[in-house]
Symmetry: D2
Subunit: 252 residues, 4 copies
């Protein structure tokens, strides 16, 4: 069976500009994520960053990606609309899209959701408890009943998203907020998973439980290779339908 | 416009057997709930309790009820299966059903859900914060962004329910749990709303915000008076459909 | 109770440019729709067309509209992006949005959905049967089990929409297609209903059953007046949360 | 990786009692289904029939089954409640459950759904066209845009089921009906897929496309091996939560 081609994309700014962040992620957040995924034989994992040509998101790269994992925070506005549109189109065409933490405000995700995707937030070293509320979902595979992150950035509802097709995780924060922290959507032929944790100031992406979530999500989000629908003006296959009026029998 | 006929049903045991509870709800939980609903001109509100003939749930009463609000805790097992089945059938036939707090384990709800409906719980005087995560829902009408209950019984996920059709509220508890505390389902021609708060030991049903939720829910749950579907063996209205095979055009 | 302010917006091109269409809708599709809605006392109904200043969609008009009903076909591209964005923003802020027939490709709907919203289509005078599959939904109020349109344009799946929050109608076409013809979404504080029928060449909007659907939909889509969530950087209300580690008890 | 243990269960009455049906399925419907699944190396496929001890559904067998595929029609009432309850419990505990055709009225499915699960039906040799409306779903893997069955029993809406978590297929019938013919639910830790085709009088289960659906469904329905939630009375992990009242800042 062909391996799932996963690409981890990162804006890679915090790690270059802040010594404190670089200490946590010396090779960048993308490499920490990729390292976890590489433990799985069924994945072929690459990374890309925003400073590469065409932001690391050229057409050829996207066409050879089955699942795109995205981390961004400071540079949402720097991604040109046409690049964001290219990512959106590729998702609609079947590519999986895993959107991490502050990437809920990245252009391709916002375009795919149709809503503003804002939320409450607070940097306060609070505790997060990610409750698995849909244990039958493939993304819950091998997880404990909850994942406790001793320190994370706090996000709070209301999270301005369309109702998820499937809500897998809900987070509790010690400061009083809740958050829909693991949410699935289908869009076109593609599958999208938003996963809340992963603030740059915490070593979240080294944790085994978080890595398990990302493995599960990448496997879930891979293209289903279903039919590519025909669209536009089509001919009828069935003609000469004759009505035998029996509406009385339906509505006596 | 005809008024919505709301019946508040209560097992009414705690209030009779415990002086402490009777101090909080001297006329019973059902009367505290009914009092709030009676502020609305569009409701015709009655109450019933388990000690009435046929448990207060005889066929005639159910047929003249548009929305049934249910509170039970100790006596789930005392309701005979046939009475529970009668309630279930009436819901499938269009009656709204609002299920409060510990009533998530009452027989009619469990039968309608198909799952076990258990959860975590703890009596610990914790704080509950009910976040309104779907502010566009009719049940969110007139509510603040969250409702804070200074003391309530704690419930925790996983709540063994089918995925709600609409998830309106998620609760945060100071002890570390989250809970899907306002959830909607359609079943047959009826609508069901589960609402978490309302432990007998707290004066929750006197609060204006909680009463607003119940008014909203009763209005939302009233029968839609849509079509009653025809079932079983039916004749075809359309005969002589002739195939013109054009599958090539669809799948070149 | 304040009336629901409904505005019926129409591009109004077919009716002006084609004598054949003008015979069917001499006052325009918008007036035929408005006429039906005006039978309801609870609506205050206005109309607007694309040839008005600011396309009939100026800020003031939108702010004074509770539910916008939209019909367009030829002129999707003529609506400037900023006007489409204004409509989208107003929906996210609470305005109901009812999208008719070929308007599934209008800019505000496509932006709100995030997908391409294309489908199969065919002008072939086929019969359409709209099955009400969710009879408990408010939009099914007062409808028969199905609505049969003797001649309509055919639309066919796959319809490139996000999974609806609620799927109320599914259409059967004599030529062999099915279509999700009545679909609900929440987006931000607003509610959206897509309704398939209403090709300009058929007198669909004079039918009592179709008018009943539009009345139901306008009532369902009116703003819920729920909370307007706080967003952005917020302070914590709860501090000094101390952990008592009992994870052993959870995972023995 | 451990193989998925699939058991195909069949009441096996038509095949034994009717020569005409036996000609179509000489080894029984269950063997025709099993034959298709055995083409997949990842499945370990067994069959069972109602005439076996404990109806072929003893506790040990169920505990060693990952996915149960069920076909029944005449004998729904012959399955004792306790056996139906055993199947339901095993599904809630994680076993996948694939329910075929007339099995929508079998006891375990009806108990798990909570509704009556009836529909319209007609034996009229009509054509069925199964449209894949959710091509991104794993059960759509490798399928064409639609599956056309030249002759099948007709089923029609309204199908009395809870709103599916995911609706993958919608069927068109030449006689004028539509049907939600491929529908997914999660219940407890288990996943359920209802698939409409497969009337005993047609050789439906020999078709490659139908077999592809069943392979996809069995793979999708296998247990996710997520967490098994703790239920009941639990202690709090977090104590001494102190309120700093800042509600003014939230609601100025």
């Amino acid at each position: 069976m062909r391996k799932t081609r996963v690409m981890v994309w990162n804006e890679n700014i915090h790690e270059r500009e802040s010594e404190k962040i670089r200490e946590i992620y010396p090779s960048g957040i993308h490499e920490a994520i990729a390292e976890g995924l590489r433990e799985c034989d069924s994945f072929d994992v690459k990374t890309a960053t925003m400073d590469m040509p065409e932001y690391g998101l050229d057409q050829n790269t996207l066409e050879n990606t089955d699942v795109l994992i995205w981390w961004s925070h400071l540079a949402h506005a720097q991604i040109p609309d046409e690049v964001a549109e290219r990512v959106r189109t590729r998702v609609l065409d079947g590519m999986g899209f895993i959107v991490l933490h502050s990437s809920h405000l990245c252009k391709p995700f916002v375009k795919l959701m149709g809503t503003c995707c804002r939320s409450k937030w607070r940097e306060n070293d609070e505790k997060e408890r990610i409750w698995i509320i849909e244990p039958a979902h493939p993304i819950a595979h091998g997880l404990p009943e909850f994942i406790e992150l001793p320190c994370e950035e706090t996000y709070g509802e209301r999270f301005e998203i369309p109702t998820p097709d499937e809500l897998v995780f809900v987070s509790w924060f010690s400061g009083g907020e809740v958050f829909r922290s693991g949410a699935c959507w289908k869009r076109g032929l593609g599958k999208i998973f938003y996963f809340r944790p992963g603030h740059e100031a915490y070593p979240t992406f080294y944790r085994e439980d978080i890595r398990q979530v990302l493995k599960n999500a990448a496997d879930w989000a891979k293209p289903s290779c279903g039919p590519k629908p025909t669209l536009g003006n089509v001919k009828t296959p069935y003609e000469n339908v004759k009505l035998v009026d029996r509406s009385d029998e339906f509505h006596p």
